[in-house]
Amino acid sequence: MALKVKISLIGALDMLKFKNMAADREKAIQAAPAREIKADFPINNNAKALHPDYLDLVVKEVVDHPEADAKSFILARAEGGPLPYFRAGQYISLKLPIGGSFLSRPYSISSGPKWALDGMYAVTVKANPGGFAADWMLDNLKAGDKITASGPLGDFYYDKYRDCRHVLALAGGSSITPFLSMAYAIQDGVEDFDMTILYGSATADTIMLRKELEEIAAACPKVKVVHVLSDEEKEGFEHGFITADLIRKYAPAEEYSVFICGPEAMYRFVGREIEKLGLPRRLVRPEMLGVTKEVWKQPGYPAEAKDKVFRLTVKQGPEEYGIDAAAGEPLLVAMERAGVKAPSRCRSGQCGWCRSRLLSGRVYAPEENDGRRWADKEYGYVHPCATFPLSDITLEVPGEYL
């Protein structure tokens, strides 16, 4: 070997140094005290406090909004103390054992982040005729009841790197909730941006959370609220729907971002209007819209499957369940009906929390709800909240920390 690298004057000593690495290490170890191993780290505790697996909550107060067929539930930690802080616009997933079923529903937090420090979140629930969980909550949940929820989640919040200083917030009906939270956050100095809310309701007397919104707008020049009434023409209110022209009318001169949160019909309508504005994608942020209600109307859906009921075998850790799954409902709903505690959060196909392995069977996943990762599509994973059965199915689902 031509190369001969020497570090010290006597090369042999270097070889010894190499050989002694183990002995030197042992020496360093033995020189240390045999003290108890501490595995408690502030950083990990901070992370856990901000992002708990679950929160045990209790309903502190129920505020009725009869004009809007809705109620706000003020939730506190069962054991008292502050709740995890959050970004205004985020949601929590409520876990609802109803009869033999085990449901979960995402609700935007309608209170401001500051409330969390005082140990409170508010969620505002609007009646949903023909639905299941919302109406059950309105009829049954009362002060003192216990309820389990996820920590705050989601990416629907203001980000100074991405969003313009001025946000045009488009809301319809109960979907005002994340914007109310943002408005509180702006008023409290937690967030710093200007927000003009274009809020669609049917008539002036049915506007949900109107008083709260108007109080903030009166006190805080950064927040502005414009009511858009579809079923009524009235002085001081816009009439009709949220159109491109209306957005232009209230948009600032400089570049602005558009945030949208609304029911499925509003998304579809407003989506077309926004296209007319020619805004780049980075300036338009839709909140998740849930999963399509009438899957059989989606392109490519095999008509013959529509009314069938299939057999769903669920594997979860060491357990196995056999249940029914209707073609028109997502796999997650079938599991929830049967009381299987399958994980879920956004119920919109986006967060990936329900990600499960399809072991056998055929499914349909609507393109517009498909938030899967590339490799998940390739290797047969599905998001059960946004996946419909087309045959008997075997599904391996993750556990749930409940």
């Binding site: 070997m1 020497k6 570090i7 240390a32 980075r282």
Partner: protein, 516 residues
């Protein structure tokens, strides 16, 4: 109670590797993971129309198909098939030489190209650089030999074949560079990778640095076509094919013992009986939280005390999805190492001082290596730095976002100042991960993803030499970035395989010995 031969706790890089190894060895294995998907660091997340790579910059030792490196070989042996994409160049570094003059250097991969380029920047350096790479190669070979001999290397064979490794390996990098009389400018450029190991050149063994650098330069680095989630998913698929079971959203809480021998794992989904457990978890957590106090060996307590919580690489990463082609932003390179200077000791001190003094970051643009990384007309970049507990120990949630933004502002300013690259007006999606984020998803101490620092006496060579002493509890063999092969993707894969082999041997020995 369900019963398996082995339970691997945690489906990180090391856990996936160990799980395949155990199943290949014919042992019925259960893999449990507290999160709902595999990979640990090696995963991905979706934002809008983008899929973001959270951790992998480049994976060394894959190599081209006709000249495979250790990792490509390992994956072949495992039967894991992947789409690999080469990363162009080793790096571009914009910093200062030790004499204070500006440094802006782009080093290609391939040893000859690397040396030729160095000659351009540092005329006359070629003979010394040739010597250096000859030494690097000897050390790489020596490392493969020592790993293969699993703690039973033959000293005579070593002396004959790897004499220079024996002479230099135990010294700090800076000392060997000096002894070799490398021109100072070469030393400055060659120090660039220190940030990948998170230990300064005065405290990092030359053995470690040389074997790593050789792995990067010799056959280049690679990334998977569809983020590291593709690697993890493909590995998990292989594990399933081999007959392994996996439970997600399942947390291991305690190890169960019969006398002083491990007999099972308590999990959030119930108790599981097994003869062998390989936790993909930092040893401090394994012995500090999961083994009953009275069974924690004296030596583990001492080892932990000697390491004294010197966790490595508390990550801070800002991810930006941009609505334009990377050329439009003036991005020309895959990875930019940006720092205030080339003195790693000073840079390390600056990092540990927190946001006020930190002047180090790595800018990466995935599309430069992989044009398919994001939709046409868009690109994805990340900016990575190492964080300090001084910024993140404070638990006040109301200042958390501001702290993240302060660090991000600083990194964006460094990028702009050093490269002229400015994302303003193009950011379509953004996500910022702090040590809290990594602590949340991985459970690693302080959000540090490298385990304990591979510093001074606790380098990878002495760890490799002490495989016998380092697993004092029967049936318990921790794996992961804190293991014998150290941090990084390749280190974790190899540790999983290596310790998996030791575990298989245990199980076979016990079966032969008639003991359970």
């Amino acid at each position: 109670m369900v019963k398996y031969d082995a339970v691997v706790v945690g489906a990180g890089n090391s856990g996936l590797s160990a799980a395949i190894r155990m199943q290949l060895g014919g042992r019925k294995t259960l893999l449990i993971e507290q999160h709902n998907l595999p990979g640990g660091c090696a995963t991905s997340f979706r934002r809008g129309r983008f899929e973001i790579e959270p951790s992998l910059h480049e994976l060394c030792d894959v190599g081209p198909e006709n000249n495979p490196g250790e990792i490509r070989e390992l994956f072949r042996e495992y039967g894991v098939k992947l789409n690999w994409v080469p990363c162009p160049d080793c790096f571009r570094v914009i910093s200062k030489y030790s004499d204070g003059t500006p440094m802006d250097v782009t080093m290609p991969d391939g040893i000859d190209a690397f040396i030729a380029k160095m000659e351009e920047y540092v005329p006359g350096s070629t003979p010394k650089m040739r010597e250096l790479f000859e030494l690097y190669e000897e050390i790489r070979q020596g490392a493969i030999y020592t790993a293969a001999s699993a703690g039973k290397a033959d000293p005579n064979y070593m002396r004959e074949h790897f004499p220079n490794m024996l002479r230099t390996g135990a010294y700090p990098v800076s000392k060997v560079f000096k002894a070799m009389k490398l021109p100072q400018k070469c030393q400055d450029i060659l120090s660039t990778y220190w940030g990948y190991l998170g230990v300064e050149m005065d405290h990092l063994s030359f053995f470690h640095y040389a074997s790593m650098m050789q792995r990067y330069v010799r056959i280049g680095a690679y990334i998977p076509l569809h983020t590291s989630h593709e690697i993890s998913t493909a590995m998990l698929e292989r594990f399933r094919e081999l007959g392994g079971d996996v439970w997600f959203n399942c947390r291991a809480e305690k190890f169960l013992f019969e006398g002083d021998r491990l007999c099972g794992v308590r999990t959030s989904m119930g108790d599981v009986a097994c003869d062998m457990c390989l936790p993909n978890i930092n040893a401090d957590i394994v012995y500090g939280k999961m083994v009953p106090k009275e069974l924690v060996p004296e030596r583990e307590k001492k080892l932990s005390a000697a390491r004294n919580g010197n966790y490595s690489a508390r990550m801070f990463v800002a991810y930006f999805c941009l609505d334009c082609d990377y050329h439009e932003l003036g991005i020309t390179n895959y990875s930019y190492f940006l720092s205030g200077g080339s003195d790693s000791a000073k840079e390390y001190a600056n990092l540990m001082g927190g946001v006020k003094t930190n002047d180090y970051c790595i800018l990466l643009c995935y599309n430069v290596a992989n044009p398919e990384f994001s939709p046409k007309g868009t690109c994805v970049c990340s900016i990575t730095t190492l964080a300090s507990p001084v910024d993140w120990n404070d638990g006040d949630p109301t200042t958390y976002v501001a702290r993240k933004e302060a660090m991000t502002d600083k990194m964006l300013a460094i990028v702009k100042e050093k490269t002229g690259i400015d994302f303003t007006g193009h950011i379509e999606e953004v996500s910022i991960a702090s040590p809290w984020t990594f602590a949340r998803y991985l459970g690693v101490p302080e959000g540090a993803v490298y385990g304990h620092e591979v510093r001074d006496w606790d380098g990878i060579m002495p760890r490799m030499m002490m495989l016998k002493q380092d697993y004092p509890v029967k049936g318990l063999r921790p794996i992961g970035a804190g293991g014998p092969r150290g941090d990084g993707y390749s280190g974790a894969y190899i540790t999983g395989s290596l310790v998996g082999k030791l575990a298989l041997k245990d199980l076979n020995d016990w079966a032969e010995g008639g003991a359970k």
